[in-house]
C-alpha cells in the first residue's frame, strides 16, 4: 500500500506491503506518523493520495475515487490504550462487533475466544477491573471476533511496565503464530521489533 497524508505541520508518505503470517512492524519515534498510518488503513482518516489494497481488493484509491467506509473494510484495529468500551462488560465488548444474528452462536464464539486467552472467568467484569495485559488480550480478541483480514496493533505495550512488557510480548508472539494472520504492529521499542516482527518499516 501507499499512503500520502498532509496535516497542518506534518507530511506522511510511505509505501509497504504485508502478507499472511507476517508481522510487519512500523518502527519510529513519537510523532512520525505510525498511528496515522494505521488509522488510514482502518479508514478512520482519509489519505490525501495513494492507495490501500487488502487481499487484492482496493479499499482506497485516490485517483479512482475509491474509499470504502471503515465499517466495511474488515480490519481489526487495536488502538493505543486498547479502546475497550468502559460501559460494557467484557463479553459485551467482544460480542459487540460480531455479525452473527443468533445470540447463542455469538455467546459460544465469545466463550471460545475468551478461553483462547484464558479469561473465561472475567466475562462479567468491566474493563476497568482488568490489568493492562488482560485488557490487551480482550481488545485483540474483540478485533478477531469480526473475522478481520488484517490485524492492526498500535503500541500494544506502551501502557504497561517494563517487566510485564516482556511477558506480554511472548504471549502475543505465541498467539499470533497460532492465528496466522497478517499483522501490522506499531511500536517505538526496538525490543518489540526484535522479538515480534518478521519485517520492519522504518519511520525514522
Amino acid at each position: 500500500m501507499k499512503i500520502q497524508k498532509k496535516l497542518d505541520d506534518f507530511v506522511l508518505d510511505k509505501e509497504w506491503e504485508v502478507r499472511k503470517g507476517e508481522v510487519i512492524s512500523l518502527f519510529g519515534p513519537s510523532g512520525s506518523g505510525k498511528s496515522l498510518s494505521l488509522q488510514a488503513i482502518a479508514g478512520l482518516v482519509t489519505p490525501d493520495d495513494g492507495y490501500i489494497e487488502i487481499n487484492e481488493q482496493l479499499i482506497f484509491h485516490k485517483e479512482r475515487k475509491i474509499c470504502v467506509p471503515s465499517r466495511d473494510r474488515g480490519i481489526g484495529y487495536v488502538p493505543q490504550n486498547y479502546g475497550l468500551f468502559p460501559h460494557m462488560k467484557i463479553d459485551e465488548n467482544i460480542m459487540f462487533g460480531m455479525v452473527e444474528k443468533d445470540k447463542n452462536i455469538k455467546e459460544e464464539k465469545m466463550m471460545k475466544l475468551l478461553s483462547c486467552v484464558g479469561l473465561e472467568n472475567k466475562r462479567n467484569k468491566y474493563p476497568q477491573h482488568l490489568s493492562g495485559g488482560e485488557k490487551q488480550r480482550v481488545a485483540i480478541v474483540r478485533a478477531l471476533a469480526t473475522n478481520p483480514k488484517v490485524l492492526l496493533l498500535d503500541e500494544p505495550f506502551s501502557a504497561v511496565d517494563i517487566p510485564i512488557r516482556k511477558i506480554l510480548r511472548n504471549e502475543i508472539k505465541e498467539f499470533l503464530t497460532r492465528w496466522n494472520m497478517p499483522v501490522v504492529l506499531v511500536t517505538h521499542d526496538p525490543e518489540d521489533v526484535e522479538v515480534l516482527a518478521t519485517e520492519v518499516v522504518d519511520y525514522c
Binding site: 480490519i75 481489526g76 459487540f96
Partner: protein
C-alpha cells in the same frame, strides 16, 4: 392555596424539555463532533439566548409569532394556531431559553467521550447511527442528564420571555414564576409564600438527587 401554577409550570417545563432534548442532543453532537464551516458562528448563535435578556427574547418572539407577524398570520390562517397567550407559547419561550443549556451540556459531555472508542466501533463494522447510540450516547450519559436537569429547571423558572409571550392567564399561562410575581403585586403574600417555599423545596431536593445520581452512575 392554589396549586394550578405548579401543575402548569411542570407541564410547560416537561414539554419544553422534551423538545429541547430532541433539538439539543443532535445539535450538541454536531457542535462536538461535526466538522463544517461556520461552526464557530453556529456555536455563538446557539449561546445567544443564554446571554440575551429574557425580555429581548420575548420581544423577538412576540414580533415573530404575534398576530400581526407573517408567521403568526400564517399559523392562524393555515392551522388556526395562535401561540401568543397560550401555554404552547409558554412552552416555546421556555424551550428557546433553555436550549443553550442543553446544547452546551451535551456538547461538553460528548467532547469528553474518547473518539478512539467511536473509531474502534467503526472498525468493528458499525454504522454512524449505531456508534452514536451504543457508544457516544451511553458514555456521555451523565453530562446529558445534568444538561437536561438544568434545562428543566431553567424552563420551570422562565419569567421574562413567558410574561411577554404568554401573558398571565390563571390556569392557562400563569406559571409558578409569574404567579409569584402576581401574588406579590396583589399583596397576596400568603399565596406567594406558599409557592416560594414549595418551589424552593422541590429545587433543593432535585439538586441533591442530581448530585447523588451522577455519582452513582460511573463505571
Amino acid at each position: 392555596m392554589n396549586w394550578s401554577p405548579v401543575y402548569l409550570s411542570l407541564k410547560i417545563a416537561f414539554y419544553s424539555t422534551v423538545i429541547t432534548a430532541f433539538i439539543g442532543i443532535p445539535m450538541g453532537w454536531l457542535l462536538a463532533r461535526g466538522r463544517f464551516i461556520g461552526k464557530d458562528i453556529l456555536s455563538s448563535i446557539v449561546t445567544l439566548p443564554m446571554v440575551l435578556p429574557p425580555t429581548v427574547l420575548g420581544y423577538y418572539l412576540l414580533i415573530l409569532i404575534g398576530r400581526q407577524s407573517i408567521i403568526g398570520r400564517w399559523l392562524q390562517s393555515a392551522f388556526n394556531i395562535n401561540l401568543v397567550f397560550t401555554w404552547q407559547g409558554a412552552v416555546l419561550a421556555a424551550t428557546i431559553v433553555s436550549l443553550p443549556l442543553m446544547i452546551r451540556g451535551v456538547q461538553a459531555s460528548i467532547e469528553s467521550v474518547d473518539t478512539n472508542l467511536e473509531d474502534v466501533a467503526r472498525t468493528l463494522g458499525k454504522s454512524e447511527w449505531t456508534v452514536f447510540f451504543r457508544i457516544t450516547l451511553p458514555l456521555a450519559w451523565q453530562g446529558i442528564v445534568a444538561g437536561t436537569v438544568l434545562a428543566f429547571a431553567r424552563a420551570m423558572g422562565e419569567f421574562g420571555a413567558t410574561l411577554m409571550v404568554a401573558g398571565n392567564i390563571p390556569g392557562k399561562t400563569q406559571t409558578l414564576s409569574i404567579a409569584i410575581y402576581d401574588a406579590v403585586q396583589g399583596g397576596n403574600y400568603q399565596q406567594a409564600n406558599f409557592l416560594v417555599v414549595l418551589i424552593s423545596v422541590i429545587t433543593i431536593i432535585s439538586l441533591l438527587l442530581l448530585n447523588k445520581f451522577t455519582y452513582i452512575r460511573k463505571w
